[in-house]
């Protein structure tokens, strides 16, 4: 088994869920998944083959670039075919990232399940840049400097985007929740 084979075995699920998070569409995610691995394979065959934890960041950077190209192509096509704007970065309000909540019995389980549903919807509704940063931070566990490397943006921008994402998630989750659970989002005494 080559190093690339090991990388493929190890990171296939990660790349797929990142593709789902980026595109919010199963079909586009599959295209992006394939394009990412194709680019990675070509790079590896030219001698670029990172090892260990670097491999994950390397793959995600490829996926992010491939997604940018995918959006660019869509924009060009839309120019000619007048495709609806929502098929691009801005997805439908009920878009999902393909996440599934593990079921739990009991009242508490139902409440937790509601919160999960709220979060899933809220993350899917995040603007593209904020969603990318949030997914890389909270789901993939990257550090701020690694996210900056993956997305090719300054670290300060990563921090700002994450802060905005969390604020937006709080607001969106409060909207989704029943009134009695809207809970501790009061902004009293803020400076």
């Amino acid at each position: 088994m080559t190093i690339f084979d090991e990388i493929y075995e190890m990171y296939t699920p990660h790349v797929y869920r990142f593709a789902r998070a980026l595109t919010r569409d199963a079909g586009d995610a599959e295209d992006l998944f394939q394009e990412t691995w194709l680019r990675a394979y070509r790079a590896a065959s030219e001698g670029v083959e990172p090892r260990g934890s670097e491999a994950k960041a390397w793959l995600f950077a490829i996926a992010a670039n491939a997604h940018r190209d995918q959006l660019r192509k869509k924009r060009v096509r839309r120019l000619f075919l007048s495709e609806r704007k929502r098929s691009l970065e801005v997805g439908p309000a009920d878009a999902d990232l393909g996440w599934d909540s593990p079921g739990r019995a009991g009242e508490d389980g139902a409440a937790r399940s509601d919160i999960r549903l709220c979060l899933r919807r809220a993350v899917a509704r995040l603007p593209g840049k904020e969603r990318r940063v949030f997914v890389l931070k909270d789901i993939e566990g990257f550090k701020h400097d690694e996210i900056a490397g993956v997305l090719g943006i300054p670290e300060a921008t990563v921090r700002t985007l994450l802060h905005r994402a969390v604020k937006r998630l709080r607001k969106d989750m409060a909207e989704f929740r029943p009134v009695k659970e809207a809970g501790p989002v009061l902004e009293e005494g803020r400076t």
């Binding site: 790349v15 192509k73 000619f80 969390v166 989750m173 005494g189 400076t191």
Partner: protein
């Protein structure tokens, strides 16, 4: 005296604390602020909840069909096959031809004015129009053609 910091600054600092170990002064700054700010306490509680809920979600797995198909696609794209596609001298000749055509068009089209009709255009003008139409058609149809070819290939493989 404790420096006065704004809520957004405290929130950013709390988020930064997830990424690196904060200095003692930074930690006490947060603690002092949280003691008197309900809004930031709510932010902290919500952030914790978001992290917990995110960690409890089950993520989508790539379909087996996709994993298998991608693997096969990678095997089809062996580097030898790709490098043998076009010799370097052909690529160089194509580049020279493209640049020469561009220069010829630029020189020939210098006399074209906006009030000219298609019939008044010189040969270079017609060539430019043809090139523009050809590029537009390629741009328009290439994705559709590629998608169709891939779909047919996929269908024949699965059959």
């Amino acid at each position: 005296m404790t420096p006065r910091v704004s809520c957004p600054d405290i929130e950013r600092l709390m988020l930064e604390g997830e990424d690196r170990e904060l200095a003692r002064a930074e930690r006490s700054l947060i603690e002092d602020h949280l003691g008197g700010c309900a809004g930031c306490r709510a932010f902290s509680a919500d952030r914790l909840e978001i992290r917990e809920v995110t960690a409890a979600l089950r993520w989508p797995e790539p379909p087996d069909r996709l994993v298998r198909k991608t693997r096969e696609m990678l095997l089809e794209n062996e580097p030898e096959a790709r490098t043998a596609a076009l010799p370097t001298w052909v690529l160089a000749a194509m580049a020279v031809f493209a640049v020469a055509t561009g220069l010829w068009l630029a020189v020939s089209l210098a006399g074209v004015t906006p009030d000219m009709t298609l019939a008044d255009l010189p040969v270079a003008g017609l060539a430019a129009v043809l090139i523009i139409i050809q590029n537009a058609l390629t741009l328009l149809f290439a994705p559709v053609v590629l998608r169709t070819v891939r779909a047919r290939r996929g269908a024949s493989e699965s059959a």
